[in-house]
């Protein structure tokens, strides 16, 4: 297998909480490692505040990582200087959640898409620029004539198409899509997901798809990483993660997602987690899921489990990895009901 396009090792992003005397930090991302192969979609799921968006931003250095390594196609991204970084950003683009907030209301859709072309000097003259913008808009299913219009004239789904066209402007290899469908209506979400899948097939794009909706993530991803409180707790192939989840948090998350089928919904046993996610300024000792874990043991308070792999590409960060899928999980169902 060829080298992965993106390699992330031990990435951390810590934000200071407040005053100069206050040494507390928000450990938004706290030691995250993964790779993304060329042409692959890696899904990153987790609940609000788990650090999934910050991970995506830190990869592109839209926030500066505190420590760790990010390698992109052999380039050490963290070592890039200002101008090098700008040149590199041609290859890695971002799609944001809120198409209302991410487009400037005073600039036309054509200029929003064209800005990236201008910055990177990717066109020769106005005619070529306009033609290229038209192509990009057409690529995402909009009429080239809409380039003259302003964002408020578009629906949420159309604006997100503009966001996608803008991301494609520099012909990137890699796109970080941060909750690209969360703000859209159900019938429109599918339009955008299909568009991304089509672009990936045609252009060979590599995606990091960040979302809280595991069903959507599973639909678009090859592999899925589950985050909890700044860490990846499980990473596996999309089907394996669903069929054989190993981390108790993944199991709880899967069991909480409602499926539009009354028969299944009635039959299923939910693993209800007690309490709330701890604050990222005050992360529990040992395993950070232990305060809510239905299968916690004494050792969990002392040992901080790292992601381990069992030779099948399925990684989980749990002291009880291997046990959890079987009898331990059963007992957790009994406890929870």
């Amino acid at each position: 297998m060829s080298e992965p396009l993106v390699q992330v090792r031990d990435l951390t992003v810590h934000f200071p909480v407040g005053g100069r005397r206050d040494h507390r930090v928000v450990r938004a991302v706290d030691g995250v490692s993964f790779t993304v192969a060329r042409g692959e979609t890696l899904g990153l799921v987790g609940e609000s505040g788990c650090g999934k968006s910050t991970t995506g931003l830190a990869l592109l250095r839209l926030v500066e990582p505190t420590s760790g390594q990010v390698h992109f196609d052999g380039t050490d991204v963290r070592a890039l200087r200002r101008r090098e970084l700008r040149a590199w950003r041609r290859r890695a683009a971002m799609i944001f959640q809120d198409p209302y907030a991410s487009l400037d209301p005073r600039s036309t859709v054509g200029d929003a898409v064209g800005e990236a072309l201008d910055i990177h000097g990717l066109h020769q003259g106005r005619v070529a620029r306009r033609a290229r913008i038209g192509d990009l808009l057409e690529r995402v299913g909009l009429h080239p004539d809409v380039a003259e219009r302003f964002p408020h004239e578009f629906s949420g789904g159309q604006r997100q198409r503009v966001g996608v066209a803008r991301a494609l402007a520099c012909e990137p290899d890699f796109i970080v899509a941060d909750e690209p469908i969360a703000a859209l209506d159900v019938s429109i979400q599918a339009q955008v997901m299909n568009l991304l899948a089509e672009l990936q097939a045609d252009l060979g794009l590599t995606f990091l798809f960040i979302a809280h909706d595991l069903a959507a993530v599973q639909h678009v991803s090859d592999r899925i990483a589950v985050m909890y409180l700044g860490r990846i707790v499980e990473l596996a192939d999309r089907d394996r993660l669903y069929r054989d989840p190993q981390h108790p948090y993944t199991r709880a998350l899967l069991s909480a997602i409602p499926v539009p089928d009354p028969t299944r919904e009635r039959a299923r046993e939910r693993i209800l987690l007690s309490g709330d996610v701890p604050s990222p300024t005050d992360v529990p000792s040992g395993c950070r899921f232990r305060t809510r874990c239905p299968v916690v043991v004494e050792a969990c308070g002392r040992l901080d489990p790292a992601l381990q792999e069992r030779g099948d590409g399925h990684e989980a960060a749990c002291l009880r990895y291997g046990e959890v899928g079987t009898e331990v999980a059963r007992s957790s169902h009994v406890d929870a009901s």
């Binding site: 159900v186 019938s187 599973q218 919904e265 987690l273």
Partner: protein
């Protein structure tokens, strides 16, 4: 079996707003009955009229520019005909509300105890100390730990899930016959959503109250609803018992909605069948069937000209369409048919006996 007399009987509910862009016809003739202990889910996308149709019951919309017509009988009284003062006796007392965002439905400058007792003192005529006692009991029922010590805390001192529990406690405080949960779990994370859904179901069972659950999430609906209304363009386009609706949806819009949903555990090679186009603006509704510009069937010449009537096509199953999606096609769209592997918590594992 449910009680024969409905708690709430809504007929021909119609809501319009005068706007700068002309008349917005937001709700166009909605009918339903709600029985004690029953859960009615109203499903639809933004602008479908699902929220307004419920807010309008107790005129929780600005009037003017809004105008409400029709009838909504709650225990024999027509709420639509009530004056503002008369409605004060109903809001919170007989119909409780839980809204989407607990951050905006709670007042940030008052402790939650005060917000909890306000309704009880007003409606039930009890004094402060008794109301506080009840408030503690309510917080306990909705699962807030050490409730007595939390009464004087402010909303910002609670997490999102806990705040929504407080809002539910307020909604339940006067023991209403009907609880309206308007996207009550949409702002919450899934694991918290599971807790809240479970909580409301449990409280409903204990109190025999009727619940109107407004949501865009068909997954949540499948878990809780007895009956489902699907709304589009201000109208009910399909209405059926939940099992029937999920097993055999008949309206092209309902089928389209199900097909466009990613389903956990579904086969990957199947592309999502997105519904083309956009929902209509309530100021600019298309002639004929409101869904016809986006409909992939549109097989009847009347679709573009005539508004289809809501007809009963099977016992208790109503559809507003000239065209019914055939059973085999509808079944292929269902989650049950698209899921390839058994969900992890229902795996049969013959080796490990109980």
């Amino acid at each position: 079996m449910v009680d024969a007399t409905p708690v709430l009987e809504v007929r021909d509910l119609d809501v319009r707003f005068g706007t700068k862009r002309g008349l917005a016809h937001v709700v166009r003739g909605v009918d339903y009955d709600l029985h004690a202990g029953e859960t009615l889910a109203i499903v639809g996308e933004s602008g479908s009229g699902k929220s307004v149709s419920t807010l309008a019951l107790t005129k929780l919309i600005p009037i003017p520019p809004g105008r409400v017509n029709g009838t909504a009988r709650l225990q024999g009284t027509d709420l639509i005909a009530c004056s503002e003062t008369e409605l004060l006796r109903f809001r919170g007392r007989h119909i409780g509300f839980v809204f989407q965002d607990p951050m905006t439905s709670l007042n940030p400058v008052h402790p939650i105890g005060r917000q909890l007792t306000e309704g009880m003192r007003h409606h039930l005529g009890i004094d402060e100390s008794e109301a506080r006692e009840r408030a503690v009991d309510l917080l306990d029922q909705v699962g807030i730990p050490s409730p007595a010590s939390r009464l004087d805390d402010y909303p910002h001192q609670f997490s999102g899930g806990m705040r929504q529990r407080v809002v539910i406690a307020i909604g339940l405080s006067c023991d209403p016959e009907v609880l309206v949960a308007d996207e009550a779990t949409t702002a919450l994370d899934v694991t918290t959503q599971a807790q809240i859904v479970e909580l409301i179901a449990e409280l409903q069972e204990r109190r025999g109250m009727a619940v109107i659950w407004i949501t865009h999430d068909l997954g949540v609906v499948a878990g809780i609803a007895d009956r489902v209304l699907v709304m589009y363009g201000g109208q009910v386009v399909e209405s059926a018992p939940a099992d029937e609706l999920f097993a055999h949806p008949r309206h092209p819009y309902t089928v389209g909605l199900m097909r466009s949903l990613p389903v956990l555990g579904a086969r990957r090679d199947v592309e999502l069948a997105a519904i083309p186009g956009l929902p209509p603006a309530p100021t600019d509704l298309p002639p004929g069937c409101a869904f016809h510009p986006r409909c992939t069937y549109r097989l009847d010449p009347r679709c573009e000209r005539e508004p289809p009537p809501l007809l009963e096509v099977a016992p208790g199953h109503y559809v507003r369409s000239f065209y019914e999606v055939p059973a085999d096609e509808a079944r292929a769209a269902s989650a049950a048919a698209r899921i390839e592997v058994a969900p992890p918590d229902r795996r049969d594992d013959p080796e490990v006996g109980p």
